[in-house]
């Protein structure tokens, strides 16, 4: 399983010299199986370049959205395969009690916010709720579960041939918890992350910053490390970097996280970098 980061930034794209190391595009991660099965986790601005890089003969593309905040869907309108006649594109997203996925995505992909309506994309597009039970997509088994973040939000666990990764891009499991974490049973996202080889997890803030942003739906890198340690994840990749953090700031936050979970290999997600799981 190969995990490639096309967008690592949270909230809003933040390109520029000070963010070149970790990247400025918003959330987009490609997960590729040995047989070529391709999953795309989130459709932030990073998905534009990914769309250009995908082989034109790929049989099917599955985009798994964690939630529908703009930094996770903004790239959909610029994803080339979306507008390629005959391409089979499946988009999965968290279920809502009020409006289906098409209706919610259409709020963005329609005038006045976007010139092309979702119904007018030229690919063969299918929309699905995130699977309620573990589902097979090509070579992968994909599980989804609701996690703590404002609005319907899911995390994903993806496995293939014993290799596993979890993606909890926007996640605030420490919300309202004193002495986080307080045990697996009462920790949002634990089952998704339990024992995975690679955990891609929200690490937007420093501890000090998070104290001022409780309820915003994100974690500090130290909280991410504690979460990873409790879950028994082998490797933590801090993700969803704050747009105000330059590369040096992210370096410091990752280093702090590593100190909080010595048994977990900790790094920061870097745009353009791939991991072999």
């Amino acid at each position: 399983v190969r995990v490639t980061f096309w967008g690592t930034r949270g909230s809003i794209a933040s390109p520029g010299p000070s963010t070149q190391g970790y990247g400025g595009n918003t959330a987009c991660v490609q997960v590729t199986a040995d047989d070529g099965t391709c999953l795309i986790l989130d459709a932030g601005t990073g998905i534009r370049a990914l769309g250009d890089a995908l082989p034109s003969d790929a049989a099917r593309i599955d985009i798994l959205l964690s939630h529908l905040h703009m930094d996770h869907i903004q790239g959909l309108g610029f994803f080339g395969p979306f507008f390629t006649p005959g391409r089979e594109v499946h988009v999965w997203g968290p279920p809502s009690a009020t409006l289906d996925l098409r209706g919610r995505l259409s709020r963005y992909l329609s005038p006045p916010l976007f010139p092309v309506r979702l119904r007018d994309v030229e690919s063969h597009l299918e929309l699905h709720n995130a699977p309620a039970e573990p589902a097979r997509i090509g070579a992968f088994e994909v599980s989804a579960a609701t996690i703590i973040h404002p609005g319907p939000t899911v995390g994903y666990r993806i496995t293939e041939n014993g290799a596993s990764m979890a993606y909890l891009s926007d996640h605030e499991p420490a919300l309202g918890v004193e002495g986080f974490p307080i045990g697996p049973a009462w920790t949002s996202g634990h089952d998704l992350a339990a024992g995975v080889d690679v955990l891609v997890h929200d690490g937007q803030f420093s501890d000090t910053e998070r104290q001022a942003r409780v309820g915003w739906g994100h974690s500090s890198t130290v909280e991410a490390a504690r979460f990873a340690h409790q879950a028994g994840a082998k490797r933590l990749v801090c993700f969803h970097h704050d747009p105000s953090h330059d590369d040096e700031a992210v370096d410091r936050l990752v280093e702090t996280a590593a100190g909080a979970a010595p048994d977990v290999l900790v790094s920061g997600a870097r745009e353009g970098v791939s991991l072999q799981v």
């Binding site: 579960a145 609701t146 004193e178 697996p184 949002s188 634990h190 998704l192 339990a194």
Partner: protein, 148 residues
Amino acid sequence: MLDDVQGCCPYDDGDRLVAQRSVELILFRQLATSLAVPVFLVDEAGDLVFLNEAAEGLLGIRFDDIDELPLQEWSTGFRPHADDGSLLPPEETPLVMALRERRPCHQRLNITGIDGVDRSIEVTAFPLEGGRGRLIGAVAMFWEQHEG
């Protein structure tokens, strides 16, 4: 558990397998922790999974001492009874009604705490439904009635 996949990876907690609670229960526990009103939280089977400090005082037990309590134990253990002393069967208590009938329920009744103290209380209970309409559990909030 959610009809998402939570619970797919139960972890080993000593001699039993325990699955992660649904996010809705986790969030409600976190809310209850900060409330002054007594709150009692059960899962979809009706088993007690959390009570907050205010409820500990009212029911005469500590959550840390019990961790979880099966429906049959808590629904009889607190001896819910009417003013004439007749015991209320579990299925006539608000929390069980909320869970089984999936509707809110309010009732005045009497209980005997584990500490042996009789208390007159009002109970408001309501079901918790998560995404995809799945029953997650139920919540009861208590108000102690004081004479005079």
